[in-house]
Each structure stands twice: as structure tokens, then as C-alpha cells.
């Protein structure tokens, strides 16, 4: 177990978020089953009071989940000098079997938390809370993931021992590695560039069409969701190489280091915000039309779409600039 302020803070946040989410989910299940806005019974009044409690709890705590993802990356990066063989966060996370699953689950939970907060924001703006069942069902479905994240985080930090010899990012993200990271590294750079730029064009193009005509919102949402993993695979396959100016260095974590001006935090933040807003724009557009949401859905959807397009375009712009100014030139033949 590593006794560090940052690891203790991460564990504390995980416990607080999971504990309060469990409480919220307990009440949410009751609301999901017995909610009847047409009734004036005491039970319904009690449920209405509880909705404000759950909204308060989750609105305070889910932003912490997003912040804790950033702190987790920062801590993994900061811990790497403690382990023989580790050169960056990639090595720290490989110290035991729980590191990478914890990171993956943190990303998934942070994405879900972002989408939930947007749905909640929309629901609280309507006088009759038309999305209440949906958002509480979503929250209840998130509980197992939050519990699993808490378990993985505890297992990871309690299993971190300084005498472990871990792998450096050079071997984890190499063509010879028999893992997913190795497969991503082995993807041909030319093919990945084509996939990346096509995906960005499709996402921003469908977003602009959605903004202008109000159609193809669902397609835009799916495209925004798919672009997120495609962009991360592209960072491993070719974008990182231009930043490192090395044709063999595929690590997605070294970008978080000072030597690269912490550019990784900016790139991942753009991708993350793009994915959350893009997915949410499609999700809220697919809600059945109700009177109370008739104004807010188009207004919020349009705002979210603009943010998603802006983030993905900025990410693409930074990539193109780096590909242009970097002395590295990749040969595809």
C-alpha cells in the first residue's frame, strides 16, 4: 500500500462517491417503481422530496468523479520513479493486474457521469421532471460500475509494492507486446490516419447537419462516441509519434509529461468533453417529445453539439499542426 496524499485522496473520493451513490440508488429504485406525477398522495410528495436529495447528491459528487480521473492520471504519472522499469504512468499502471482495468473503468464512469449530469440538468429545468425514470434507471445501472471501480482502485493501491519490477512504456506499447496495447501499436499508421480523419469528418459533418436541419442527431451521437476510442487508438498508432519525434515510441502516457508541455492533458480533455457532449446531444434528442421539454431540448442539444464539434475540431487542428511542424515523417510504403 502506498501512503501518499494523492492516493489517500483518490481512495477517499472513491469511497464517498460510491457510498453516496448507493444511498441515492436506494432511493432512486423507489422513485423508479412508484413515481406517479398525477398523484397527490403522501408517498408521491415524499418521493418528490427525495428526488431533490438525489439530484443534490449526484450533482455534487459526479463532478468529483471527473476530477478524480484527472488526479488518477496525475498520480500514476507522479508515482513512476518509485518502480524499477517504469518510465511513465504506463509502467505504474502495469505494476499489478488492477491498474489498467481501474483506469478503463474510471474513464467509462466519468463518461457516464458526464452524460447523467447533462440529463439531470435538462430534467430539472422542466416543471414536471419528464426524464426522472430514465435518469434514475441510468443511475441504478451505474452502481455496479462504481462499486467495481472502488474495488479495483483499492486492490490496485493496496497491491502496489515498490519492489515490483514493472515494464516500461517502450515494451508495453511495442509491436511485440501480445496485448491490446501491442495490437493498437501494430495498426498501420496510414490506415489509422485514414480512419481518424474520416471519423472526425463524419462526426463534425453530421454535427453541422444536425445543427442546421435538426436531423441525424442519433448518427452524430454514435459518431462522437466512436470517435473517442478511434482518437485514442490514433494517439497510440501515429499522433504520439509526431510529438515524440520517434517512429517507435507509441506510449499514450508520456504525453502527460513535462517534456511534452503536458499536452496530453489538453488532448485528452478535448476528447473527453467532445465525447460527453456529443453522446449527450444524441441522447437528449432521442427523448420522446414532451411539452415541458419542447424548448429546452433543441436549445441544449444545439449547445452540446457546438461544444462537441469545437472540441473535436481543436483536437484535429492540434494533430494536423503537430504533423506539419514535427521533423518526423512517417513512410507508409
Amino acid at each position: 500500500m502506498i501512503l501518499r496524499p494523492a492516493t489517500l485522496a483518490l481512495l477517499l473520493i472513491s469511497l464517498v462517491v460510491t457510498g453516496f451513490s448507493l444511498t441515492a440508488a436506494f432511493h432512486a429504485m423507489g422513485i423508479y417503481e412508484r413515481w406517479d406525477p398525477t398523484s397527490g398522495s403522501e408517498d408521491q410528495l415524499d418521493l418528490e422530496k427525495k428526488t431533490s436529495l438525489i439530484s443534490s447528491i449526484i450533482s455534487y459528487l459526479f463532478p468529483l468523479e471527473l476530477l478524480s480521473l484527472a488526479l488518477f492520471l496525475f498520480t500514476a504519472e507522479e508515482l513512476h520513479p518509485l518502480f524499477t522499469g517504469a518510465m511513465c504512468a504506463a509502467g505504474t499502471l502495469a505494476v499489478n493486474a488492477f491498474g489498467y482495468p481501474a483506469l478503463l473503468l474510471k474513464v467509462v464512469n466519468a463518461l457516464c457521469a458526464g452524460v447523467w449530469l447533462i440529463i439531470n440538468h435538462l430534467d430539472t429545468r422542466a416543471y414536471d421532471s419528464p426524464l426522472i425514470r430514465l435518469k434514475y434507471l441510468f443511475l441504478t445501472l451505474m452502481i455496479p460500475l462504481l462499486l467495481l471501480e472502488c474495488f479495483l482502485l483499492f486492490s490496485y493501491f493496496s497491491g502496489v509494492k515498490p519492489d515490483v519490477i514493472t515494464s516500461c512504456c517502450g515494451s508495453l506499447f511495442s509491436h511485440d507486446s501480445p496485448t491490446l496495447s501491442g495490437d493498437l501499436t501494430s495498426l498501420p499508421a496510414g490506415l489509422m490516419q485514414a480512419v481518424f480523419f474520416t471519423s472526425m469528418v463524419l462526426t463534425t459533418g453530421s454535427g453541422i447537419i444536425f445543427l442546421r436541419t435538426g436531423r441525424h442527431g442519433r448518427f452524430f451521437s454514435v459518431a462522437a462516441a466512436v470517435t473517442f476510442p478511434v482518437a485514442i487508438a490514433s494517439i497510440i498508432s501515429f499522433i504520439g509519434l509526431y510529438f515524440y519525434e520517434m517512429p517507435s515510441h507509441h506510449c499514450p502516457f508520456c504525453l502527460l509529461q513535462k517534456e511534452y508541455y503536458y499536452i496530453g492533458y489538453g488532448l485528452y480533455a478535448l476528447l473527453f468533453i467532445g465525447a460527453v457532449t456529443g453522446i449527450s446531444a444524441g441522447v437528449i434528442n432521442s427523448f420522446p417529445p414532451t411539452h415541458s421539454l419542447s424548448n429546452t431540448v433543441p436549445e441544449t442539444g444545439s449547445y452540446l453539439t457546438r461544444v462537441a464539434i469545437l472540441c473535436y475540431l481543436l483536437f484535429t487542428l492540434i494533430t494536423v499542426i503537430e504533423m506539419t511542424i514535427s521533423p518526423l515523417r512517417l513512410s507508409y510504403f
Partner: protein, 378 residues
Amino acid sequence: MITTRERHRNILDFALSSLGRRAGRNLSLLTMYCLLIFVLASLLFFVSALKREAARLLEDAPDLVVQRLVAGRQDLIPENYGAGIAAIRGVAHVEPRLWGYYFDSWNGANYTVIASDKPTVKDGIAAIGSGVARSRKIHAGELFPLRSPGTEPLLLEVGAIFPGTSDLMAADLIILTPSDFHTLFNFPQGKFTDLAVTVTNRKELPMVAAKIAALYADSRPILKSEIQRTYQSIFDWRGGMILLVLLSAVLSFIIFAWDRATGLSAEERKEIGILKSIGWDTSDVLLLKFWEGCAISLPAFLCGVIAAYCHVFFFSAPFFSPVLKGWSILYPQFQLVPVVDISQLLVLFFFTVVPYITATIIPNWRTATMDPDAAMRS
């Protein structure tokens, strides 16, 4: 139609005036909050500054140090080991080092004694650290007697005293010539304390260390990265232990904040009742409580962090230094380099503001969902 921004601004206005009406009560909360942040922030800043200082000092340490072990204890290393190690491919230079510790029974201090060929020292003339000069009350040009195993004490003239700015490195240091070193400790000729090895390509360090261990089974190669890692772990461990102890203070604060949020006065209940009866709904009252929380948390956070910054970087953290730095008779005096990064502030936020939020969230909801008539009657 009031826009969202105007709604927030109006409620913030009301929250500030509401806090002002109960200034005494809120000031006590603010003081406690500020104090908690100050203590935790001082700890985080101090640990991280010490780690940075240790890393900076170790930058100049040799890449690899080779010691000799006999029965698990460090022993003197023969000269021929140096020649054998220098022949390993990739080794650029091997420097045999003579150094040790001298216990001064006069003041109970331990000095670090290093032999050097540098022109600042000559036979009979030594250079000493400012800590040594201070504790023995001697000045440059005066004689400095050291007890040696022979019958006669070794009399050294103080050639130079290192300036106070190099205290962290040189406070307890005595530098003398190899021949004075041999006389002082009756040190055997042809043997050294250890060997400092420089390797041309740093990436080959582990391989060179493995070759040395294979060549001389009784040798112990120590990499600079291992020393750096040990220092980082020590400071982290000390910081983590104190933080665990301080978590009891965080817990006390949570109880205090909880009590403060649940124990509404009759006047406050009446106020909420009036607000709800004139049209405020639950979400408005929750927003009011949110802004009240922000209006307390933000100044407390800023004041606590600024006070901690001054405490650590201007006054060298008098509350924490004995525990975190360790202590000795000749402890160096040094000023820490002020650097604060975002992750420290984020950790601090998680340890202070988050407990406050969690402590007040349910009492605030109870307040916000009170029925207006019940609130006013109570």
C-alpha cells in the same frame, strides 16, 4: 424573464447577506475551516518541497556507487576492485573515495569527513562547513583539534568556511587531504570507503551494476535512481503517516460542519419558511445553500492555502519541520524553493472541501424540503 445567470447572482447576493446576518456563527466555521486547510496545505507543500530539494541535491551524486560487504556490513574496498571495474565495457571513470564520520565528544555532533585533492585544502589545512564552525565557535585561520587514534590529536588549520548558502550540503562537512584523512582515522593504505563509477551511457547502468555484482560477489552496487527512489518514498511515507493522523482533524471538522448545518436556529427556520411561502421552491433553497457553502469554502481555501504558503516557504514550516525533516545537532538551515502544482491543490480540495460538502449535503436537503408552515411554526 430572469436569466439563469441573474438567478444565480440574485441568490448569491441573498446568500452573502444571509451569512452576514449571522456573522459570528459563520466566522467560527470559517476559522475552523481555514485552520484545517492551513494545516493540510502546509503538510502537502512541505513534503513536496522536501522531495524536490532531495531530488535536486541528488542530481550531482555519482551514477553508481560500489561498496564492499563483509558479513553483511559495509567494509573497506581494496584499490584493485577499481581497476577491475574500470575494465568493464561502458564504464567511463572509477573514482575511489575516502570519507567517513567523526564523532565530536565535545558537542555530541557527527561530522562528515571527506578526503579531497582539490587545491582548497593542503596538508594541515582543512575546509569546514558553517555548521561545524558555529558549533565549535571557530573562525578561518584558527586551529581545529581532532582526536585521532594516535596519542597526539590532529591539529588542522581552518583554511576556509563554506558559506551558509551551501548549508544543506556542507553544514557538517570537513574536507581535508588524503594524508590527513589517513592520519585522523589510522586508515589503511590501499583501501577506500567506496568507489564512484561513471558510466558513458546511463541506459547501461543496470547492466554495468549487474556485471560488477557478477565480477565481485562481495560488492554492492547502488544506483543513483535507487537512492532517489528511497528518498522519495521516505518523504511520501512520512507525509502519508501525518496525513492519516490529521484525518482525525478532518473527521472532527466533518462533525462540526454537520452539527452546524443541522442545528438551524429558530430564526433560520423562520427565514426558510418565509422564503418558501413567498414562492421559493426547493431547488432555490438548495441553490442558496450551495452558494452559502461556496461563500465559506472559497475564502477559507484561499486564506488557508496562502497562510500555508507563507508558513512553509517564508518561515520554513516551524510546525512540521522536526517531524518531516528529522533532526540532529548540526541540522542545516535552508530555505525551501516555493513551487505549488495543480495536483497538490486538487488533493487539498479533496481532503477539505469534499468532506465539507458531504457533511452538509443531507442537512441542507432537509432544510430545503421543510414545509413552509412547519418551518415558521417551529
